[in-house]
Structure formats: C-alpha cells, structure tokens
Symmetry: C2
Subunit: 345 residues, 2 copies
C-alpha cells in the first residue's frame, strides 16, 4: 500500500477525506485535518505529482526555457541564477516550482518546446533569448499556454514580455559620448539574430542622427558574446584607418577581452578611447573601471514572475496591476572609461 491510500488506512478514514484535508478544503472537521496533517508529516507523505497532474491537468511547475550552448544566449550562469532567485521568491508564495528547461545546443528550440508542451510538463513558461522572429511565441500563443518572454520579438501574438531597456541604454550612451566630445562612435551587436541587437543598433542610429551624426556601418562590430568576441572587436577596431574614439559594448562579457586587446596594443580605455558597457561583477575590477549600465537581476526575476502569473487564470487575481509589457530600466554606473575628451590637436 502506497501514497494517499496508505495514509488513509493508517488513519482509518477514507482517501477522499485525506485529500480534502491536505488540500485545505473547507468542509473538513478541524480535528480530522489536524490528525491528517500530523500523520502526513510523520510518514513523510507528499502527493505524487503525476497522479495529481493527471487528475487536475496542472503541474504546479513553471518552466524557464534556456539554451545550454554557451555561445548562444550571451548570458552565463550568474545572470540566470540571479534572475531565477527573484522568480522563485514569487513562485514560492504560490507553491509553484521553477525548473530550468535545458534545450541542448544540438536541438532545435521550437522542437524542444513542442515536446515540453505536448507532454504537459509545465503550467506556464518563461522564454529567454527571444529571436527577432521567434516561432516559439506563435506556438505557445496558439495553444493558449500562459507564458512571458524575457526579450521582445517581431513575432507578436500579444504575449506579455519584459525586456531590458536597450533603447534607453543606446540613447543615454550616445548622448553621453557626444556630450563628451565624441563624433566617431562605434557600437557592437550580437552575432546572431537575437532581437535586442536590432533594437540597440536602431536606436543608436537614431540617437546619433539627432546629433547630426551618421552611424558608420564599418563601426558596427558583430561578435560572439564572450571574451574572445570582445578581443576580436578591439583588434578589428584598431586596424581601421580611422578608428572610432568611443565604443558602446552591448554584452557584459566582451569588456574583458576588449580591454585586453587594447592593452596589448598600448591603447588605454578612458584615455585613448571611451568605452561604455554593461555591468557585470567584474566591471568594477577592470582598469579603469568600466562605465556601464546595471540592473537588479533579482528584481527583474520578480517582475518576470509576476507578469507571468498575471497571465495565468489561476493567479491573475493576485496580480491585477502587473504590467504585461515593460522595458526594464538600467542604471548608469559611472566608471572612468569614458571621461570628457580632450579636444583633438
């Protein structure tokens, strides 16, 4: 004898009553409920999730889909761990469990998602690394699976999303660099079709135009989101006939390689070239400290969770005011990598 049946037998009451007692149904004698809860604790009883899911059609699991190839997302363990921590803080209130759904780099993300959904694995989903055109979005929307994306996409099915404020970062970076005397400003973009790259480049272009400047196509550097990518950017940049005097780096990790390649060439950030990037734990520890845009990843996770829950019928009442779409502000942390520029010559 196993499971709820065993518990019921142990208490000499019916399994129905045990179930109701455990699930906090009102029509249970308080004394009975107390006995059930105590016995459950003693016997270490926890309801079998498969049985429960099969009956209720819900799993109490929220899946956070991510790709495991390191060069794909551009985010590392730390980024996601921090976000997860915030997400969980919210889910814990509702006894929802967060699991990371790990799509191998060898599998097509859409196929993977299809499998996850068909299996009835999760009650809701969080998608990260949204692509410019992202078939996953349509797929989930068609099936009425509650989900939220971390990142926007041209694929719009009216889904809720949260995204970092890359426009704000672009605008502020360009304005700041221009104000500091720069006219020839480079930017970077991801090597793949992740949506944020488009947003960032577009806004940089417009911000420059507002200052009467054009974005030189040769000053848009594509790179993989890692140290090696940053290194390569610096090498390419220094090889130009007329290098830029400033650059805005879109990824966190590329700063290290970028600094190193400059250093090898005897070029010093802050003195010979202005650099603005994204905050990461090592940004402070570069020399000179990187001027960068920071955000609270944990708070982002919290917002992500609340937005998702507000899209789920079972929880929406708890989060009536959660915004369905939102760009997440980043805060400028002043470093020493982009001082005012000494007038040339």
């Amino acid at each position: 004898m196993k499971g709820i049946r065993r518990l019921a037998q142990h208490l000499d009451i019916s399994i129905g009553t045990v179930s109701r007692a455990l699930n906090g149904k009102p029509d249970v004698n308080e004394e009975t409920r107390r006995r059930v809860l105590q016995a459950a604790a003693e016997l270490g009883y926890v309801p079998n999730q498969s049985g429960r899911s099969l009956r209720q059609g819900t799993t109490n699991i929220i899946g956070f889909m991510m790709q495991t190839g390191t060069e794909i997302t551009g985010q590392g363990d730390i980024f996601f761990m921090s976000v997860f921590d915030g997400v969980q803080a919210v889910f814990a209130r509702h006894k929802l469990d967060l699991v990371a759904l790990l799509c191998s780099s060898e599998e097509d993300p859409s196929d993977y998602l299809r499998r996850v959904v068909a299996r009835g694995f999760a009650d809701g989903l969080i998608l990260s690394a949204t692509q410019r055109d992202d078939p996953r979005i349509e797929f989930l929307a068609e099936r009425n699976i509650p989900f939220v994306t971390l990142g926007r996409s041209l694929t719009d099915a009216g889904q809720p999303w949260l995204d970092l404020d890359f426009e704000g970062m672009a605008q502020a970076s360009i304005d700041r660099l221009v104000a500091r005397g720069h006219r020839r400003i480079a930017i970077t973009r991801p090597h793949d079709d992740i949506n944020l790259g488009y947003i960032f480049v577009d806004r940089c272009r417009r911000a420059l135009a507002a200052h009467g400047l054009a974005l030189d196509e040769d000053l848009i550097f594509r790179s993989t989101p890692n140290e090696a990518g940053g290194y390569q950017i610096a090498r390419d940049l220094l090889a130009l006939d007329e290098p830029p005097t400033a650059i805005v780096l879109i990824n966190e990790t590329i700063a290290i390689g970028f600094y190193q390649a400059l250093s090898e060439a005897g070029v010093k950030p802050g003195r010979d070239i202005a650099v603005i990037g994204r905050y990461s734990p090592h940004a402070h520890f570069l020399s000179p400290p990187l001027t960068c845009f920071r955000l609270s990843l944990r708070d982002l996770g919290i917002a992500l969770a609340e937005t998702l829950l507000s899209a789920m019928p079972a929880f929406k009442d708890h989060y009536p005011q959660a915004p369905a779409n939102r760009v997440w502000q980043m805060e400028l942390v002043e470093g020493e990598s982009d001082p005012f520029r000494a007038p040339r010559r």
Copy 2:
C-alpha cells in the same frame, strides 16, 4: 477526445495497439506501426507525461540540482551551462530530458530535495556543490534513487561521484611554485563548507610538508567565490607584515578581483607575486595571462551522465565500463603569472 484515444479513433484501431506501435513493441504489424507513426507525426501527438509516469512509475527526466543564490556555487560564468551541454549529449541518446532543479537560496536544500523525490519528479538526480557533510546523499541512498554527485563528501553511502582533481591541482601547484623558488606560499579556500575546500587545503599542506615547508595558517585565505572575494584576498595579503611570494587560487572568478587589487597597489602578478588559478574564459585575457588549471566542462558533463546512467538499472547495460568514482584531471595551462623567481637580495 484527446491524446492517444483521439489518435486511435483517427486510425480506427485500439489504443493498446497505438501504444505498442509507438513504443516499439515487437508484436505489431509493420504496416500498422507505419500508419500509427505517420498519424502521430501528422497530428503532432506526444504522449502525456503524467499519464505515462503514473502508469510506468518513471518520468524520463533527470534532475540536476543546484542552488540559485549566486554566491553559493563558486563556479564561473558558464560552468554549468557547459556541463549541461555535455550531460545532454548523452541523455539525448536515451530520450531522457535534463532539467535543472533550482533550489532557492531561501530554502533548505534537503527539504527541497525531499519534495522533489516524493513527488516522483525525476528518475535520477545529479547533485552539485556537495558539502563536507551532506545529508542529501544519505537521503537519496536510503530511498534507492539513482544519483551521482559532482563533488565528493565525507557522507559516503557508496554513491557514485565525479570530482575535479583538486589533489592533483594542489600537488602540482605547490611543486611547481617550490621548484620556482617559492617558500612562502598562500592558498585560498571557499568561505563555506563545500567539500573541495578541505581536500584542497589538506593536500596543499601535505605537498608543502614533502618539501619541508609548513602551511602557515595566516596564509590560508577564505573568500566568497567571486570577484569581490578575490579583491579582498589581495588586500588582506598585501597588508601582512610578511606577504607570501606566491598564491594558489581555488576558484575561477576570484582571479579578476585579485589582479585588480594587486594592480591598485602597484604589485604585478608574475613579477612581484606568483599566481596560479583555475581556467575560465577570461584567464587568457588577464595581464599577465594566468597560469591555470583547465578541464573540458563538456566532457565532464558527458562523464557525469554516463556515470549516472550506469547506476540506473534501465540503462546500466549500455555503460558497463563507466567508472563509479573518478577524479577528473585538470590540465595545466602555462601563463606568465608564475615565472621562475629571481633569487632574493
């Protein structure tokens, strides 16, 4: 009508036959099987996991348990992402799915694990960040849940484990530094009770003793496994009356902060102090390049998966030769941070 029933109706055969056809049972007419598979593909049928689990008592899911607080694990940016990718490469062969079980920093890991197990969530588990005494190990062993740990522990239930060769790293580092003229050698250890810290410190002590040297307790620096921890170590170290001439860093991430604090004090790695650390993508991009110990994280993941599967009755036949316990070699990458030491005075 849903699920397998719908598929059966569509084909006008019984659900039993559909099930057998889909699951590759031998007693099915090949023509029938072909029709079933085709219809399944057309209708996008995927068996419901809850129904299947309930019936079979197995989920085809392997859980990789990890803690989500960022200061906990002590691994670099992309440590887990890379390991996951290797694990999945193996699991894909057996149609097993890997999910990361994310224990919030606010929850006790043992409680979390208990819940996961009781729910029948996964067929097997991988535990990371094993503590010196780790109750999770006993818990799983008692219940006969197949699992493998990434990391050893004093808690020994005969479980399979894989661990990095911290002894080898300790021994090689000490030998190398001594050979290069160092007598006063510092080491670092994690701030918490993770098991690897004990292994590392013990072996360093013995390696030094073999050279007739004592490990000075003041030269064992505890730190959180992040940039700030490394920064603090360097500050503390430089404040000593008699600073060490060399140091071995146990974590990947601390090198950056460590280098920075040295730099601020005008102390140059490789010239004024020898440094040996762990490889991470930025190790090359430090100046001077860090001499460090590297391993293939993806291969580690593959080995981890194979070791787990060899402990699972359903798969053990495929992996007869997988070692149940194994320290994973790391390879020394020569940088320029620990040259031969100019004799003093």
